[in-house]
Structure formats: structure tokens, C-alpha cells
Symmetry: D2
Subunit: 384 residues, 4 copies
């Protein structure tokens, strides 16, 4: 089986498409589903595709998710299946996720008896990378239309070895917000500060004061990050500029911290500017929610993994991360679990981190992914 999975994965890998432009990938998915004899609905939230597989018996509906989009990165790997699209690359493994879910589709199309009852919704999603693809599929109504009861998401993970499964109960990945701050001061000559409002000084005080949110306002047991990633102001050494522009990212693990952070952020930025007589414009975008696994579903994933590959396949190491994942949107709406499937293989040289221009993964993981979904389905449908 794996040769076919590899073939599909490589086909997708060599033709990476950025968020909301996954036209060819979506067509490939649709064609495969058609070949397997499965019905589907397409053009959801742009390029999204869902296929409902029904056991014919009453029972819950369980959504399984694969994301399809690539990244704006120039691939440096010299492999036969390397990206043919300049400046675009499947550097996160979404090509593998899609191949795995298609592999599963083929299997359950052949033999629906794997579903003891209820229904499986295969979900091929656009725009995971900062594009709110999951959120937009939810807004398009798929959870209601297909009466989804639970959801699962699988991610190949180069930080854990092939054969291992990383899963935790509770939060596993952080929320991701982005912000832009424009400090409006008053420009003038550097030797005459009294006629100006110095936006560089104001922005510097904003940067130093923002540190206090993580150090003082957040439970030390709760992860949180605020990073100012860019600071740009001024053109002349002897001038005081009109504006300073900052951008950055904010991350949290718990719902409480996720709610608190933008309020504290806004309070510090606005009042600090006011203290110095400056104005600010804040743009604050909530990209990903925290990815919070529901305890019973996380336990189910652990149980399935153990039944497949033994107790020792489970790891919590390198499993909780400050990265973000838009599967979180599903988990905010429905019970479920997001988990990592090990794709690292040091012997084979698959050790590069996700989003690296050298990223690649052990393709043996593809078959394991299909096997995992196959083992999860009966458990999830009986449990749900």
C-alpha cells in the first residue's frame, strides 16, 4: 500500500500551493475520492472538500482532518519530488496528511464494515498556515450540516521518532495572535526634542512594559509569550520621526490566558502612549485559538496508539509546543483530539524542523498514519 501513498504524497509535494490556492491539490483529492467511489462536497471555504462515509447504522459522526496548503518557502532539498513551484514548498508535512487521509478513504471505501456504526467525515482543509481554513470551513456550516460529534487531527512531527505518537490531555499547542502597533508621535529636529513627541522612546517603553504581562499578569504555571518581532522608526540620525511601527505575536495555552492577553496588551500599549502624549493605532488579529484536547478523546488516542504499537510508543516529550494550529477551531466547537505522529528518522536524515527549507519526513509514516486512522475509527464511533 505504501507505494501508492508515497506516489500521492510526492505528487502533492512537487506541486505545492499556498493557502486558498490549493486548486490542483483539491482536484487531486476529488479525483481520488471519485476513483474510490466516494461522494464528496467541494468548494467549501474555497478549496475545501469533505466526504461522508456512512455505516448505515445510527451513531455519531466523527470528523478526520487533513490540511492541504504549502508554505512560501524555497525548497532546498535535491529530491526527485522537489517543489516545481518557485518560492513554494510543502515544508510542514501537509502533503503527507492529505495522502494519509486519501489512503484511509480508499480503505474504507473498499470495506465500510470498519465503521461499527455512525459516520466518518473525511475533511480536506485549505489554509492551515495562518489562513483560518478550519475556521472558515466551520463558518461554511460543515459541523451542523454533517452533525459532527467529534473531531480528530493528525500531524506528522519531525521532533519525535517514527513509530511514536505524541498526545496530551489539555492544551497541546498555543494560540497565535499577531499585532501591529503604529505609534504616532510628532516629528522634528533631533536637537529640539521639546517640539516633538519622540515615537522611538514611546515604542521602547511599550516594548519594556509589555514584558510585565508574562512576568506579572499570567499564572506562572500557564504558558504565554509576547514577542515584538519588528521595530522600525526613523530615517535620519539627527531627526525625531513621526511614527514608529512594531509588529509581533502573542501566544497562550489556556482559555483564560487567551482571553486576558489582548486586554492587558491594549491597556499597556494605549496608556503608555498616552503617558508620553502620543497616539497609537493597534491592529490585533487572532489567528489560531489554543489547541486544547479533550481529556476523554486524548485518552482514546493514547489507547489506540498503545493497542497498535505498545505502551512505549507514547511520548509527551516535544509534544506540547508554543506553535499554533488552526485545528484548534474545531476543538473549540466539538470534543476531539489533535496528535502528533512521529516522522523523524535520524538514520535516514529526516531531522530538519518544520518550516525549514530542508524539511522532509520519513515516508514510512504514511502507512502508519492510515493504520492509525483505521484503528481509531471503530473506537471513536463506539465511544462518541
Amino acid at each position: 500500500m505504501n507505494s501508492e501513498l508515497i506516489e500521492i504524497r510526492r505528487l502533492i509535494h512537487s506541486n505545492p500551493e499556498l493557502k486558498y490556492e490549493e486548486f490542483d491539490t483539491s482536484l487531486l483529492v476529488q479525483n481520488k475520492l471519485k476513483t474510490y467511489g466516494l461522494d464528496f462536497e467541494s468548494k467549501i471555504a474555497g478549496t475545501g472538500v469533505v466526504s461522508l462515509v456512512d455505516s448505515g447504522k445510527p451513531g455519531p459522526t466523527v470528523l478526520l482532518r487533513a490540511d492541504m496548503d504549502a508554505l512560501p518557502i524555497q525548497e532546498e532539498n535535491q529530491v526527485s519530488y522537489r517543489s516545481k513551484n518557485s518560492g513554494k514548498m510543502h515544508a510542514c508535512g501537509h502533503d503527507g496528511h492529505t495522502a494519509i487521509l486519501l489512503g484511509l478513504a480508499k480503505e474504507i471505501a473498499k470495506d465500510r464494515s470498519i465503521l461499527p456504526k455512525g459516520r466518518i467525515l473525511l475533511c480536506f482543509q485549505p489554509a492551515e498556515e495562518g489562513g483560518n481554513g478550519a475556521d472558515n470551513m466551520i463558518k461554511a456550516g460543515i459541523l451542523e450540516k454533517y452533525a459532527v460529534d467529534a473531531c480528530y487531527g493528525l500531524h506528522l512531527w519531525n521532533h519525535i521518532d517514527i513509530g511514536q505518537v505524541g498526545v496530551v490531555s489539555g492544551t497541546m499547542m498555543a494560540s497565535v495572535d499577531s499585532f501591529e502597533i503604529i505609534v504616532h508621535g510628532k516629528s522634528g529636529h533631533g536637537a529640539l526634542p521639546q517640539h516633538t513627541i519622540d515615537p522611538i522612546l514611546v515604542a521602547s517603553h511599550i516594548v519594556t512594559s509589555l514584558q510585565s504581562i508574562v512576568s506579572r499578569n499570567i499564572d506562572p504555571l500557564e504558558p504565554a509569550v509576547i514577542t515584538v518581532g519588528t521595530f522600525h522608526s526613523g530615517e535620519a540620525f539627527n531627526g525625531i520621526p513621526e511614527i514608529a511601527k512594531l509588529t509581533g505575536t502573542v501566544r497562550a495555552y489556556s482559555k483564560e490566558v487567551y482571553e486576558l492577553l489582548p486586554n492587558r496588551f491594549e491597556s499597556i500599549v494605549e496608556n503608555t502612549a498616552k503617558a508620553f502624549g502620543a497616539n497609537v493605532q493597534i491592529t490585533y488579529d487572532r489567528i489560531d485559538k489554543p489547541t486544547i484536547n479533550h481529556a476523554p478523546n486524548a485518552e482514546l488516542v493514547s489507547k489506540v496508539a498503545k493497542s497498535l504499537w505498545g505502551e512505549s510508543c507514547l511520548t509527551e516529550k516535544n509534544t506540547r509546543t508554543m506553535g499554533g494550529e488552526d485545528f484548534s477551531a474545531f476543538l473549540m466547537k466539538k470534543p476531539g483530539c489533535y496528535f502528533f505522529l512521529g516522522s523523524r528518522n535520524e538514520k535516514k536524515g529526516y531531522t530538519h524542523p518544520h518550516h525549514s527549507s530542508y524539511f522532509d519526513f520519513d515516508e514510512d509514516a504514511l502507512e502508519l498514519g492510515v493504520a492509525f486512522w483505521q484503528a481509531l475509527i471503530p473506537e471513536a464511533l463506539l465511544f462518541g
Copy 2:
């Protein structure tokens, strides 16, 4: 003559009285004036005394000021005339000022022809040291009642040599404000900052942000100071306290800066606290205004000094200071000039700064002071 001046000065020196408690000193002044045959009005703003000396001819009224109060300092000098009042000391030279003005009173009582026209108002003032004595005499109405046209104030000055006169046009001494800030945070355990609002952090940001007023909001050519002199907060190393308390002083030279400073101060303190979710209580007292000499009156003082002691007696060195002086209140209302009369004498050991517990001055300056007033009177009355 000087022996009598010295006698009076030493009498006052040995019996120092703090602001608004200059009862004996005021009585001494009144008795002397009576002895000299001069009328006077007493109990102005507490212990203040004024005596009007009229030439009988129409002309302006010129006020000459001496301050009478001592300081809460324990004298360390071992002189015959040392302070008999524990913890109180004439450590600024006001004993000398009063003696000089009494010396002048005696002279003009003997011979009013020194006044070519108009009137001289001898003004013995309480509470120069942080007590707003000048302001309170103004509020008591002496400027209107005696139709004062101009005002002059003399200060013995241990930073310039005996025989010299320090005077500048424009500002010569700073305004003096004091402030107290109470930052109201929210107390709690030091290991649980998330339940608190940390007033030590808030107050620290206030201290660092306040630096920007002098560095950014004030014309670099204009003197200004903001000093946080005390910072007190907390009792336990592992607690976060409820409040932090700061006190300090603010000083300026020009009217513009004097007006600007409290606004910028308040803006930084209030908005910085707000940025961190804390509240503040600000108490802001304006103790002394800037002492701004009027150009023509300053020129007159220079001219008189030169006529007495030659061109070289004039100095601008160590003449502009960041110290405060409540004679500024008179100068805000009427044209006039405040100036320094050198009282330093390194050979005799009179070098200690004002407000030192070792302060003393060269008593030869007393006679020079009377001579200066005598020479100024005709010029000031003809000029005014």
C-alpha cells in the same frame, strides 16, 4: 557701625526660630524699629513686620526684604553665639539679612534725606524656608496697602567671595515643587503575581518614565529637574505589597517650563499606573516660583554694585542655582531684583555651604549689606 550689626546678628543667631515661630526675632525687630523712631505694622502673615519710611515727596514705593526664619538643623559650630535652641540653627544667613535691614533702618531713620523721593518699605518676612512666607505677606495685602512699585531682596552667599555681588538678568533661582505619589496596586503572595497588581513594578516604570520629561519635553537650553527622592514599598521578600509611595521635587527656571512640568508629570504618573491596572494618588505642591529678575532692576543692582566696589565686584559664577527662594513670589507681582552678596572668606574659614550644620559667614558682609542698600535706595527711587 559693624559692631552693632554683629551684636544684633549674633543675638538672632543664638536664638534661632523655625518658620512661623519667629516670635522673639519679630519682637527684636519691632523693638529696634521703635528705638530708631520708626513706625511699623506687625503680625503680618504671623510674625511679619513692615515699616514704611516716607521721603515726604511723591514718588514710588520700593520694598526691601529680609527673611527671619531658621532651619531644623543642629548647629555644630563651637562659637560664642552658637544656637541655644537644640535642633534649630540659622544655617542660611537669614540672621544676617535681618541684621542688615535693621542696620539700614537705623541709618535712614537718622537721615531720611537719603530718599530723594518716594518711600521705602522695610519688610521683615517669616518662613522663607518652604513656608511661603513671602506669598503669605502678599496675600495679607502689603503690596496694595503700601502701593509697592518695585522690590529687592539680598542674600548673603557663601559661594562667592566677600566683596562680590552676584546678580543676573532673568531667572536666578529655580522654582521648587514637591510631590507625593501613592501607587495603589493589589497585594498578594510573591509566587502568585497573577492575582496581584505589583506596585513596585508600576512605581519603577513611573521613575524611569519620568526621566523623559527633562530629556525630551524641555528645551535643552532651559534648566529643569525632576528627582524622585524616596521610594518605599513592601515588607516581606516573598510578598507583593498593596502600595508604593514616592516623594520628590520638581524644579524649573522659566515660566513656560514651570507651567509645563506638572502637566507632563501628571500625564506620565497617571497613565503609567493605568497601563498596569493600578491607581495613583498624586499630591503636588508648588513651594517656590522661579526667581526671575527683571532686566532693568538687575541692571540697576549691577550699576550700584559697580559704583560701590568697581567693575570686578560683579560675578555670574555660582550665581544661577537650582535652589529655590520664596522672594520669587514678590518678583511675580512686581518688578525687582534678587541678588547675592558675597560672604565667603576662605582665609577666615567661612566656606561651608548653606544648610550645612557648619555654616557661618564673614560678618564683614553685614556692613557691606547696609552700604549696598544705602546706595541702592536713591537709584531705585529715582528709577522706579
Copy 3:
């Protein structure tokens, strides 16, 4: 049995003794052990007592710890057994811990067959509250002398309900460091900052810069706290003081962070002072290490709890805290586990937090504590 446990606990409660002054408590322990027919060694690290109970069969030695010291708090409870020592109070439950371990002593003295093999070392420790009592018993050599293989510590916990057991694998309580910083500036007049080095400004920059350690230098997934708890400097609003004094606490969960924090702390404090031309003296004390449970021992505690009171008795809520515990010293040397035994009972009004002057706990927990130790002993001796 509980009536005797309550009697002992109340006796200790009414006679609270501060760290290293647990003389009466230690005597009570020794007398009880004597009564029960157990040998013991006393005067270890001051008032410490250990009693070895041997099964007679080869096997491991397992240490069970109770702490004996009270706190410098004035009790506000109006109970029959309230503190008779003014300003001292068993406000943390150590009276209960000692009563429980004595209860266990009586049981195993009566019937040593509870020990399948090996030996139990009952350990009554002084000075848990900031006194390094555990560390000092280790330095006195008890781990070597009694060949201790594993260690367990029980704490009554008012943040979880009676009948529940709180335990986690890995870190459960934080390390506790304390620090004192003395910033040596240069004093002077508040209007003449140029002749001074302003220690209030320097210390304020230290406070704001220290925030960056938690916000930037620590893995967001790792708990850490740095709190400046006191800041004292200055006496006069118009002066600049010579020194500023700060104290505070530093806390961590992992060994890596525990090692990193003092280095970053020192770097920020020393170099910030240097930036402004000031000197600093730092006193940095490591009070408690992080309390890190060993995974197998934590699992054993969970297993015992479940076997006694069912699956639902286990809780992780309110179990990880930023508080410190000197049992950590044992856990740094030997495998083991520290855990919480619920003592909260809202119906009975036992809800006040530890270290509150209103703290008291549900005495039904005493019997549960003895039962837990009894159930743990065979498991721990067979496992160890």
C-alpha cells in the same frame, strides 16, 4: 483511633514552636515512640527525630517524613485547642503531619507484619518553613546511616477536598530562592543630580529589567517567578539617597530553570548598576529546591490512593503550586514522591488557605493519613 490522633494533634496545635525551637514537640514525639515501644534517634539537626522500624527481612529502606515546626503568625481561631503561644501558630498543618506519623508509628509498632520486607524510617523533621530542616537532616547523614532508598512526604492540603489525593509526576512545588540587593549610589541634593548617582533610578531599572528573565529567558512551558517584594530608599523628598535596598523571591520548576535563574539575575542586576555607575551587593539564598516527584514513585502513590478510595479520589487541580517545600531536598537525593492529602471541608468551614491566621483543617483527614501510610508501606517496600 481518630480520637487519639485528634488529641495528639490538638496538643501540638496548642503549643506551636518555631523552626529549630520544636523542643516540646520533639519531646512529645520521643515520649510517644517510647510508649509505643519503638527505638529512635533524637537531636538530629537540632530537634529532629528518626525511628527505624525493621521487618527483619532484607529489603529497601523507605523514609516517611513529617515536619514539626509552626509559623510566626497570631492565631485568630477561637477553638479550644488554639495556640497558647502568642504570635506563633500551626497555620500550615504540620501538627497534623506529626500526629499522622505518630499514629502510623503506633500501628506498625503493634504489628510489624505490615512490612513485607525492608525497613521504614519514620522521620520527624524540624524547620520546614524556610529553615532547611530537611537539608540539615540530610547533612547530618541520616540517608547514609539508615541506607535510605526512597522517600515519601505527605501534606494536608486545604485547596483540595477531604478524601482526595493530589499528586503529579515531575515537579509539584517550586524552588524558593530569596535575594537582597543593595544598590550603592552617591547621595546629594535633589536639585543637583549631576553630583550624584541616583540609586532609586538604578533600582527602578533593575526592577523593570528583571521582568525580562521570565518573559524572554525561560521556556514558556516552564514555570518561573521573579518578584521584587520590597523596595526602600531615601528619606527626604528633595534629596538623592546613597542606597536603595530591594528584597524578593525567585521560583522555578525544572532543574534547568533553577540553575539558569541566578545567573540571569546576577547579570541583570550587576550590569544594570554598572550602566549607571553604581555598585551593587547581592545576597542570594537558595531556600528550597524544586519538589520534583519521580515518575514511578508518583505512580505508586496514585495506585495506592486509587486502591483505597477509588479512581475519582485523584486530582491534579490545585496540586501543582508555586509554593516551596523543603522535602525537595530529599527528592534531589533519593527517588520518592511528595503528595497532598485533601483537608478542605466547605460544609465544616475548613476553607482558609495555609499560612492564614484562620487556617484549620478537617481532622477526619488524620485517620485517612494513617490509612494511606499503612497502604503505601507494603507497596513501597515491595517496589523500592
Copy 4:
């Protein structure tokens, strides 16, 4: 006479040349001097020209300076003589200075009896605008070669009215330093600050800490400015960059402050970076020294002005500025005076500030400038 002055000025104005490229201007100067029958030396420090006019009688040598360079500004004025060189403009009045000194050259070439004794060195200087032209002429040896005893510099000034002369004893213009700071941190992902050294935070602390130099280290009576004019760091909102780059300017009035500032600057920048584990590279350039007039020479200028245009022509308003002037280099070596000649005329619309793209001045000032030099020469030669 003025028509010829205007003609020369407009010729220069229409052909502005940037620093060290004043080739045509220098040739024009040389040709005029030749026409007037004066010897000269050219190519000093590039395009500099000096012409010595000797009275034939023993006496001092007095240098009179005109600067020749234009600015990289696009002229917006629509006048017949507007700049023909795109992006270049005489926006500071140096065209006028050169015309005035040439006008003087013609007069004294005609009649050397204006020199009672000694010699006048007419000095046409390149690169006043940030180019150290004065310094480079000094380094070329003109002060020694021509045994210069005193020096005077005239600047047309649009901040005071035509007919007025602005001059002060002591410092009149500030020193100008420029700096570049490169903070070397350690880049990484914005969600993993623990693996990075955040240069934006470090640079922000540098900016806020630098404020303390002006607010705390400098005598409030002494002007000083430190401005960070540019701050650039980072490319991605979710990254932490490797470096942050700051540039700015530092200004002072007194020699003491001029010496102090770079030391304090370096101490704050280097130690603040060290506090956070970062490195810095500092480039610090001393462009202009403070322009400090010597009291006797300033008095001489005042005297000459009064003798020409009466007491009221003198003004101190808008005369002391925080701008810089490389004539300071002459004043550090030789006694002398730099002064402003009013060129503002509100009725004629000449009110734009120097360095504005709309700058122009009242050409009636040209004749006044020549007249001033003519009146100064005998006084300066007799005095020097």
C-alpha cells in the same frame, strides 16, 4: 554696492555644490580675488581658499570666515536665481556668507588703510555641513602658517530680524556628535524566546536608559541632548531578529559636558547590552565641537554692532541654539567670536527656517554684512 553683492550671491545660489565639491564656487572666489588684486592660496582641505591682506604694520592676524557648501535639499522656491542643480540647494545662507566676504575683499583691496595694523586672513571654507571643513583647514596648517591670533565667523540668521545682531559670550551653538549602535542578539522563533537574545528588547532598554544621562548626569543649568533618531530591527512578526540598529545625535554646550557625554553613553549602551547577554558595536563620531565664544571677542562684536546700529540692534533671543557649527573648531584653537546677522524679514516673506526647502533671506543683509566686517576690522586688529 549691494547690486554686485546680490549678483554674486545669486550666482552662487543658482549653482549649489555639496561639501568638498565646491569646485565652481571656489573658482568664482579665486577669480573675484584675482580681479580685486588680492593674492590667495587655494586647494586647502580640498576647495578651501585663503587670502591674506596685510597692513604692512606689525600687528595681529585676524581670520574672517565664510563657508561655501550647499545642502542635499531640493529647492522649492520659484525665484529667478533658484538652484539649477537638482537635489542641491543653498538652504542655509552660505551663498550669502561667501558673497559678503568677497564684498569685503573688494573693499579692503581698494583701501587697505582700513587695517590700522596687522593682517586680515579672508577664509573661504568648504564643508561646513557635517564635513569638518573648518577642522580640515586647521589640520592643513593655516592657523600656524598665517599666525592667526583671532577668528570671527558671521552667519545670516532667519530667526532674527534684519538689522539685528545676535551674539552671546560663552557657548552659542552646541557640539554635534553622531552615533550608530548595533545590538547583536541571537535570532530565533518568536514563540521560543528562551533560545534567543532579543535585540529589540535590549535596544529598547538602551533607549529608555539613555534618557537618564540628560536627566541625571548633567548639570540642569547646562544644555545637553541625546536623541535616538532611528531604530530598525526585524523582518517577521513572529520572529526574533539577530540585530537591532540605532542611530542618533548627542549635543552639548560646555566643554565638561562635551567630554562627559560619550563616556556615559558608552557605559549605558555597553552594560545594558551585557545585562541581557547581548553584544554591541558602537560607532561614535564627533562632528562639531561646541561653539564657545570668548568673552572679550564677543564683547567686541557687541560693541561694533552697537556703534553701527545702536544699542537696540543687539539681541540674545533665538541666538543660543542646539544646532551645531564647525566654526567651533577655530574657537577651540584661537580666541574669537561667532555671531548671527539678522536676515529675517516678515514683510518680504523671508521667514523660512534654515534647511527648509523654502529658505531664502533678505538680501539687504549682504550690505550690512560687509559693513559689519569693515567696522570690526580696525577694532579687532587694535584689540587682538
